[in-house]
Structures are given as structure tokens and as C-alpha cells.
Symmetry: C2
Subunit: 135 residues, 2 copies
DNA sequence: CAGCATCCTCACAGATACTG
DNA sequence: CAGTATCTGTGAGGATGCTG
């Protein structure tokens, strides 16, 4: 999704208002850049906020918050905020989320396995382009 | 994806140069907004360029071209350009692409099936928010 | 620690015009 | 028909600072 249709700030109030079958939207939440990674991590075990941040690496706090909220709203992620000081918030998958995450993990595993083939395909592609654009 | 990490114009020359494990990049190509839809459509049968454009709907010609090129480079899509006038170009999945597309379709089907549950979850979430932000 | 608010930026994506 | 080239805006996403 670029793939990407989130935003939860005051501005664009959930989703691109665009006319679009709603299921594509959910699909984009799941396949969004950080959505994918969050779901896969949480499949392993529950995480605390900053724990998750470190585990994923290179996520800005803002994007992680946004992603988690979107996924929570869609009923895929459960947020458990303990009323203690300092605050402690645990994130885990709901049953629904677990199903989604398993699909996503399948895709991720496939991609990892097939990276070699992809790499080779790219070399071939680039070589062909290289040859044909010679002046 | 973001999800989305494509771009093939003269400017950013394939991918975000960012330091990032390469498999995440492929994953983002596959899960990108239009990547997902292209793969699913092509799983059905080969398509010509504008045929595919109509089938997906709401893709700009530019984005479709870009997406197809990225997927072709990754070895997921096969491009068959017939040297006739007017030009005719058929796109189909490679074996590699078919595998990926099946994973993606699984995810899409799951999402469609579970839309009801997602919708309910959202209503609950919004209701709770509604209640707690009352002044 | 786990956020929310604000500002800024650049690359993603659309619109338009042209070509083989 | 199937693209390329170019221009432009828009918003995803990062950086910073503040709060409970």
C-alpha cells in the first residue's frame, strides 16, 4: 500500500477520504511500511513501546505510534496501558491480528528465501538495460 | 509499503538509497500500493498495459509503468513487447512472481473475509474514543 | 516511559505534453 | 498504444520540544 494510507494526526483524520473500497484501505494498513514489521514482531511475543521501537529499528516514534493506533483501531493489535509510573504499555496481537500477521509473515519469509533469485533477476535486467542504452 | 519505495525516474534511480536490508525493499515493492493490485490481477491472466490500467482503476499511467518496471526488475513480472504498430505489450507473472502473487492474494482474500470484524472493531474503538474525549 | 503537538522537507504521486 | 519527459503539489515521515 504505499501503499501507505495512514495519518492519524489532527489533520487528515484516519485514512485518505478517497472513494475506495474499504478493504483496500485495511490491506494498506497491513501492508504499510511499518505495519508489516510491527505485525511480524508482535507475532513473536508482546512488546512494550520502546522495545518494539528498538526491535524494528529506524522507526521514528511518531510513525510507530501512528501505525499502532491504526492497527489497534482495525482490531488487529491490543493495547494494554498499565496505570503505573513510569507508564508501561504493552502491545500484542488480537486473534484477528494474529491471522493477518501470519499471512504477512508468510510473505516476508518467502521474500527472504527468494532474495537470491530476485538479485539475479535484477542483475540480468540491469545488464540488458546497460547494453541497450549505450550511445 | 510504503510503503512505498519505488521511483524509477531519472532522479532517484531505483529504490531509496537508504541503508536497509535489501529484502525489506523487495517486500515493499510487493506490498506497495499498486504492486499488490498488479500482482493479484496478473494472477488471473496476462494483461496488456491499458487493460491492466482499466482493471485496477484509478492508477495513473505513470504509477502503473513504474510499478511494472520495478516488478519486472525484481524478476516477478515478465514483459513481452511485440514489435508491431500500434505497439502491443503483454505483462504476465514469472514463476517467481506467481509465488509472490499467491502470498499476496492470500492476504487480500483474508482481508476481504474479515472486513466485517474490522468494521466492528473500529466502531468499538471510535465509540470508546468518543466517550473519553468528552469535555 | 509513552506519548502528543508543531514545524519542515523531500520524494511520491498526479497532471500534462510529447514520441516511436 | 505504450510509453517517456517535465513540472508541481501534497502529505508521509522525520526532528524537536513538551507533558502526564
Amino acid at each position: 500500500m504505499a501503499v501507505s494510507t495512514q495519518a492519524v494526526g489532527k489533520d487528515s483524520k484516519y485514512d485518505t477520504g478517497e472513494a475506495m473500497c474499504p478493504y483496500r484501505l485495511v490491506l494498506e494498513h497491513i501492508t504499510s511500511r511499518w505495519g508489516v514489521l510491527v505485525l511480524i514482531e508482535l507475532l513473536e511475543r508482546p512488546y512494550r513501546f520502546s522495545e518494539l521501537r528498538r526491535a524494528i529499528g529506524r522507526v521514528s516514534e511518531k510513525m510507530l505510534t501512528q501505525t499502532l493506533q491504526t492497527l489497534e483501531r482495525d482490531g488487529l493489535v491490543h493495547r494494554d496501558a498499565k496505570p503505573v509510573i513510569p507508564p508501561r504499555v504493552d502491545y500484542s496481537l488480537t486473534d484477528l491480528g494474529r491471522e493477518a500477521a501470519e499471512q504477512v509473515r508468510g510473505l516476508a519469509l518467502w521474500t527472504e528465501e527468494r532474495m537470491g533469485a530476485v538479485q539475479k533477476a535484477r542483475e540480468g535486467y540491469d545488464a540488458r538495460k546497460e547494453g541497450s542504452e549505450r550511445a
